[in-house]
Amino acid sequence: MSIEVRSPVTGLAASLTDVPDPVFSQAMVGPGVAVKPASGPADAVAPIAGTVATLHPHAFVVASAGGTAVLVHLGIDTVQLKGEGFTLHVSKGDTVEAGQAIVSWDPTAVEGHGYSSVCPVVALDLTPDSLGDLREDGQVSAGEPLFTVEGG
């Protein structure tokens, strides 16, 4: 059985190796795909159905009932914005559907503060061979498939 992981944002899919942060580009916390978001305010949505396991204004983890956990990071080094410009729509522990809005933000504003707005989407603690059907280039819309993960 596999889980379809959806893009949290509308934008341009890219390889995780393009992300300007070694934790993500070297897949230190797991493999995945990056999405360079389109300009302007938007909602970042849940990549899978499950429970909101970790929640920051600029990043979140959704864990499926089977234990697959997907991390979405909105921009790079955006912890330093201390939540400014991010509006949360869920709480830690909430059950969410794939595609449900988690955070509203504005990638253009993030770039205005001098940070990359690229969004790593990472399957935590998995090996690269657990991933399939990777979309690493071309346009994706929020909620469209980005890759699949073996597991539950």
Binding site: V23, V29, A53, F60, A69, L71, H73, V79, L124
Partner: protein, 102 residues
């Protein structure tokens, strides 16, 4: 499953051994990371991000990268006095445990 490394808690009656052990393991990891950062006197500030602990240390030569990795870090990024310890999403919990030790 018994902890092969010690039996100190095994005689405690009436406790939920599993949760006790879980808390103890987490505390040990926090203590191991703190020690590898050069101990509490060397830690100026520690802040969790979603995948890592961002630590500012007084003397970066006291940071033991190998010990950080054996304490469970996936990776260590160093820029002078700022050391980022990549621990995955348990960063929040670990930072709290380390703050308790400071």
């Amino acid at each position: 499953m018994r902890d092969p490394s010690g039996t100190a808690n095994d005689h405690r009656a009436g406790e939920d051994r599993r949760s006790t052990k879980g808390a103890r393991v987490a505390q040990n990891k926090a203590a191991a990371i703190l020690a590898a950062l050069g101990g509490k006197d060397n830690v100026v500030e520690i802040e969790p991000c979603i995948t890592r602990l961002r630590c500012e240390v007084g003397d970066d030569s006291q940071v033991d990268e190998a010990a950080l990795k054996s304490a469970g870090a996936h990776g260590v990024l160093r820029q002078g006095s700022v050391v980022q310890v990549v621990v995955g999403p348990e960063a929040d919990t670990l930072a709290g445990d380390i703050e308790d030790l400071l």
